[in-house]
């Protein structure tokens, strides 16, 4: 249908023409006028306390104590359960967050600006691996680390980013793809490139050698550091594609541990939700499916722009790691995602596929027609809060979200 195809070309252009730059790190309250005390932003589509999974509840309690809205975790849980906390999706405030995705007023957030369209998107700093709030961790060590990010790391890195005029992000992605990253389960190359680019300015602008060393170590020891920057970049690139009437292109995919939500360009901010599916993958020693938490996180924003599971061909090692099959078959995932997208991104190419661009522009019509749901490379959290990652695998977006979206677009266009 010409109206839809033209709208989709417009949406695609908005995505591909983006010029995302990391320009600052700023506390959430200064970025989001609407974000107040006793408000918590979470990953995924809207959800209430009673429906939250274990890790999400653990993270909420931890965030409440972190912001001193309650004296301890028990009181925090009671406060949340009694309706004393307002919950909103990160997406509603211009942000994204991995796994539980907690965002509260004093947390320092990466600021990515899309210079082409002037919009901005935010994401908290990646805490590292193990016992962390994004996996529901909420004990002393977690809160202490968050405080250090708020008081030391955030301001220090932010100063360096401002001093060097910001960091252009698309070229880091392009190089990362050539080095085995897919920017969801594997960010080692991008994290390393980022550290290489910021280290000199960090060294120049840091006031204290010990702090400088701690900051360099914090980045250097976290293979997934760049994930959160990539996520903010993803949202900064897709937000300008929102609201093009008649367009069936997906602008967001996210999960809250209970529901999976998507947004479609032609229908603006409307959510289409369905229960999340369970990831299928490989588990670390000592863990199995019975320990797994349902799928969670705003990180599916990277698949929304053609990375992660969509770029699996660039990361054959990941295919084996997440149990998606033989590394030699990694290309099949990217080829499959090519059947549900309308274009390839000419700036982000995959050598193993003779420099085909990553499949971009998920069309809900194609998803429903082929029955092939977007494939997301994901970490698997323990269903008990605070234990951390227990495995990695692939999870499919539920077809129901896309079926609902097709019907809604049809209704909006008067097609029955």
């Amino acid at each position: 249908m010409k109206l839809i195809d033209d709208a989709n070309q417009q949406a695609l252009a908005r995505i591909l023409e983006g010029e995302p730059r990391l320009i600052d790190i700023v506390p959430a309250r200064e970025l989001m006028p609407g974000l107040k005390d006793r408000m918590i932003l979470h990953a995924g589509p809207p959800i209430t306390w009673d429906k939250m999974c274990g890790p999400m509840r653990g993270a909420v309690a931890g965030a409440i104590v972190f912001e001193r809205w309650a004296p301890d975790l028990k009181a925090a849980a009671e406060l949340a359960a009694s309706g004393g906390i307002e919950f909103h999706p990160n997406h509603h405030f211009g942000a994204v967050g991995p796994m539980t995705g907690m965002t509260t007023v004093s947390m320092p957030l990466f600021v990515v600006e899309n210079a082409r369209f002037g919009n901005r998107a935010y994401c908290a700093i990646n805490e590292g691996l193990g016992k962390v709030m994004r996996f529901g961790g909420n004990d002393e060590s977690v809160l202490k680390r968050l405080a250090w990010l708020r008081d030391v790391f955030g301001p220090t890195l932010g100063k360096a980013i401002r001093a060097c005029g910001g960091i252009e992000l698309k070229s880091i992605i392009a190089r990362g793809l050539a080095m085995g990253d897919e920017m969801h389960q594997r960010n080692l190359a991008c994290s390393s490139i980022f550290l290489r680019e910021i280290a000199p300015t960090l060294a120049r602008t840091a006031t204290d050698n010990a702090i400088l060393a701690d900051c360099l170590a914090f980045i250097g020891q976290n293979d997934q550091f760049f994930l959160n920057i990539a996520m903010a970049m993803g949202k900064a690139m897709t937000d300008p594609a929102k609201g093009i009437r008649g367009s069936t292109i997906v602008t967001a995919m996210c999960r809250n541990g209970t529901d999976f939500g998507i947004r479609v360009s032609g229908l603006g901010d409307q959510w289409f939700t369905a229960p999340v599916e369970m990831p299928e993958g490989l588990y670390f020693a000592g863990y199995s499916e019975k320990d797994a938490n349902p799928d969670m996180g705003d990180s599916a924003i990277v698949e929304t722009i053609g990375l992660g599971g969509f770029a699996m061909a660039a990361a054959p090692a990941v295919a084996g790691f997440i149990g998606a099959g033989a590394p030699s078959a990694a290309g099949d995932f990217t080829r499959a995602m090519g059947e549900i997208t309308i274009a390839q991104n000419p700036e982000w190419t995959i050598a193993a596929l003779d420099f085909a661009g990553v499949p971009t522009g998920i069309d809900v019509r194609l998803v429903v027609d082929t029955g092939m749901a977007p494939v997301i490379n994901t970490g698997i959290a323990h269903r008990e809060p605070g234990i951390g990652q227990v495995g990695a695998g692939i999870v499919k977006a539920p077809l129901a979200c896309f079926q609902q979206a097709v019907r809604a677009i049809a209704g909006d266009l008067g097609v029955s």
Binding site: M1, I4, R365, D369, G371, R407
Partner: protein, 62 residues
């Protein structure tokens, strides 16, 4: 004979047939045994076999 634009059916008769096989896998080997290029689809009904959704998608231009 006036210079006409070549019709697609003329190209088919004079050129090489290259096939996409939509359905029974049994045809594929026979075609390949005759040196015919064939791509076999991993086919499944449109929209998971839901006739209303398939019809709606067709109207939406899929």
């Amino acid at each position: 004979m006036p210079d006409q634009e070549k019709q697609p059916y003329q190209s088919l008769l004079t050129g090489k047939v290259k096939v996409v096989n939509v359905g029974l896998e049994g045809f594929v080997k026979d075609l390949r045994d005759c040196d015919i290029d064939v791509v076999h689809l991993d086919w499944a009904p449109s929209a998971g076999g839901d006739p209303q959704m398939a019809a709606l998608l067709a109207k939406l231009g899929v």
